[in-house]
């Protein structure tokens, strides 16, 4: 499968009469965007706010971050199988991206696990979304609404708004075009017979109950491991529906721009042969863990891989999935590198993971999430600071009178993301 990704570089966002792009500036119209979803009974009111890198702005509680894209040619639409989009195979043809812009869904807490994006100050150093031009969809849920319904409403609003904005890229001339292609297994293997065949096992958060991911609209709890073409992610086949601890949350944006896929393609055909992606889940039942880790190892073997990278979303319980995947893949003679983050306590003295196997001898750390930092007050808050002290990483006394926040960095969106999107790491002192 072959996908051309055409990037239109966006260097500013502004409100305008309509949603369109002009000279690298993305204009959005608040009413136009809100009208897309406001008839939803679950939503009481909504507004759109803009946040740019370097501004004294704090966005919280952030639920998801998405990138506006549009399918220009090839079958399907961006985010297939959800919000009324037809379930059509994606990953081929051409896709346009409004690169540099992002849609951020914000609104009062669903379940403790949403986080913070600071656009400046020390907090901004930890999140990739302090560098994007953010169109914030701030949602006020209907009173008394059940939390699952609220989560779904916010998620769907984000997807609808993102795709609407993405349409603005349809007829634009991209500033840059990249081509990504993966052949059928046999042909792909023959293409670079002397290079190691490398795969990528992407573990999707699926602990359930506000910890979900959707694949072509299917709840990832209900999948068994399957093979994906890397380009399918670029067309939004996998979306986040979760409120997992915000530091290691994989927002939809990171599925669309998976850094592991990017780095594998970077060396594809030169130092390695990138064969494809295996997705699996992180269910809470042991039987599911056994079934799916068996499935991962089997697919890796069927693809005749020499090595796989394995990423995790979340921590604690899914550490067991990570270790089971690692062990079983290694037992099949296939080498593994794990990418995850660490939670050794605020003093850094405890074990960093909840589970361990001896086969896990190659691990990349995306940092330890328990480190406490103090983020300065911001001039403007998009959303609310109401829930800071009960959000994961916050605690009694986290929110200071002057508006500064002292909290573990796990309160910051994607600060220790195990997709390896950041430079943060940990070492032994």
């Amino acid at each position: 499968m072959r996908l051309e990704v055409g990037k239109i570089f966006i260097n500013d966002i502004r409100f305008g009469e309509s949603t369109h792009v002009e000279n690298g500036v993305l204009y959005v119209n608040e009413k136009e965007l809100i009208d897309l979803f406001i008839e939803d009974d679950r939503i009481k009111s909504a507004k759109i706010e803009l946040a740019k890198p370097g501004e004294s702005v704090r966005i919280t509680p952030v639920k998801d971050v998405l990138e506006p894209r549009v399918k220009v040619s090839g079958s399907g639409t961006n985010f297939p199988g959800v919000v009324g989009n037809k379930v059509k195979q994606v990953g081929e043809g051409r896709t346009h991206v409004l690169s540099g812009a992002a849609v951020v869904t914000v609104g009062k807490i669903v379940g403790f696990q949403e986080g913070i994006v600071d656009m400046s100050g020390i907090g901004a150093e930890y999140t990739p979304f302090s560098k994007t031009l953010n169109i914030c969809v701030v949602i006020e849920p209907e009173e008394g609404i059940e939390s699952h319904a609220y989560e779904a409403a916010a998620r769907e609003a984000g997807l609808i708004v993102t795709n609407f904005i993405g349409e603005a890229a349809r007829n634009l001339e991209p500033d840059e075009i990249e081509v990504f292609e993966t052949k059928g297994i046999i042909e792909q293997a023959k293409m670079y017979p002397d290079l190691p065949r490398i795969g990528y096992v992407c573990m999707l958060q699926s602990q359930g109950l506000l910890h979900d991911t959707y694949v072509y609209g299917v709840d990832a709890k209900k999948i068994i491991p399957t093979l994906m073409n890397p380009t399918e992610f670029m067309d939004g086949a996998v979306i986040s529906g979760n409120c997992v601890a915000s530091c290691d949350k994989i927002p939809t944006y990171l599925h669309q721009n998976d850094p592991i896929i990017e780095e594998l393609f970077e060396k594809h055909g030169k130092e390695l042969n990138f064969m494809g992606v295996i997705i699996t889940n992180e269910n809470v039942f042991l039987a599911d863990k056994e079934r799916c880790s068996d499935g991962v190892a089997k697919l890796a073997r069927l693809m005749d891989l020499d090595g796989v990278l394995i990423t995790e979303e979340g921590y604690g319980n899914p550490d067991t999935d990570l270790m089971m995947n690692c062990k079983k893949v290694e037992q099949n003679g296939i080498k593994t590198v794990l990418v995850t983050d660490e939670f050794p306590g605020r003093d850094g003295k405890s074990e960093s993971l909840a589970d361990a196997v001896k086969e896990a001898d190659a691990l990349v750390s995306c940092g330890q999430g328990n480190i406490v930092i103090t983020m300065p007050p911001m001039d403007k808050v998009i959303g609310t600071l109401e829930d800071i002290e009960t959000m994961i990483g916050g605690y009694d006394g986290s929110l200071k009178e002057d508006g500064s926040i002292e909290a573990e960095i796990q309160i910051i969106i994607s600060a220790t993301s195990a997709f390896g999107c950041n430079k943060l790491t940990a070492r032994m002192h």
Partner: protein
Amino acid sequence: MSKLKVVHYINNFFAGIGGEEKADIPPREMQGFVGPGMALDKSFGDEAEIIATVVCGDSYYAENLEKAEADLLEMIKKYDADLFISGPAFNAGRYGVACGAIAKAVEEKLGIPSVTAMYEENPGVDMFKKDLYIMTTGNSAADMRKAVKKLGAFALKLANGDEIGTPEDEGYHVRGIRTNYFHEKRGAKRAVEMMLKKVNNLPYATEYEMPDFGNVTPMPAIMDLSDKKIALVTSGGVVPTDNPDRIESSSATKYGIYDISEYDSMPADKFTTIHGGYDRTYALQDINRVVPLDVMRDLEKEGVIGELADYYIATTGTGTSVGNARGFGEEYSKKLLADGVQAVIVTST
């Protein structure tokens, strides 16, 4: 700028007060530097000075741990020091343990940055490396000159609150503390590079060695519960509605003990869960789903269990460090034992 005030700890031998036969002398204090303190003081230049030296015999310290520590702290406290240094102890075992113990006590109880130095095989290293920076030294006092120079320079950094580098860069024993830093390359790039090395059988260094959690041997099963006192313990974050102990929704540093003696079932208006790691919807509908008081009361009435303890114990499991969890367990199990509890049911979420 005024000089930083330093208090130095050494044993009787280094203080020039006899040898082994005097190792039983109790703590005493002396003004200014003594023995190896002279070189240490010199290494500070104009930045700091040793204003007092406290001395204790190694045997005395080992045999009177609490008293020696209390007396020494009393002496050290009044100098209002900016920095505390003990040793270097090289490979002297009892001296190393004393250096570690007093430095830890000074740092924790007086809040003064503290550092010591000793040889890698000194038992004091393993005992105190998690608590302190312990600089590396050779195995004997022949290394004194080098050891003191390194110790002095590092101590100043510590007192000034400068950023501390890696064990290799600074020359301290690896403490086992996970610290963050920004790498020049993002994680995904490092992962692909590590994979290429591993798959090509080239040397690579993992960024985190797998921990050894150790094993807890389970107690033998209880065959008859009818005369046993049972308690409920949960990591499910169930607390009285106002969360009186302010237990965190993740990364708990506390646990709570809550009275349930007057209830036959967990009342939804009196208890809640503040756990941030799972969807609370179903727990909030019926708190018994996490703290199964209703069923336990039934079993109590039916005589299946002897009695249920008057309270349950709760913390939040998500993100809570193993160290904290271990500490909670060690602490509250004493209470459980003292209250005659013979078995606990631990519910997780």
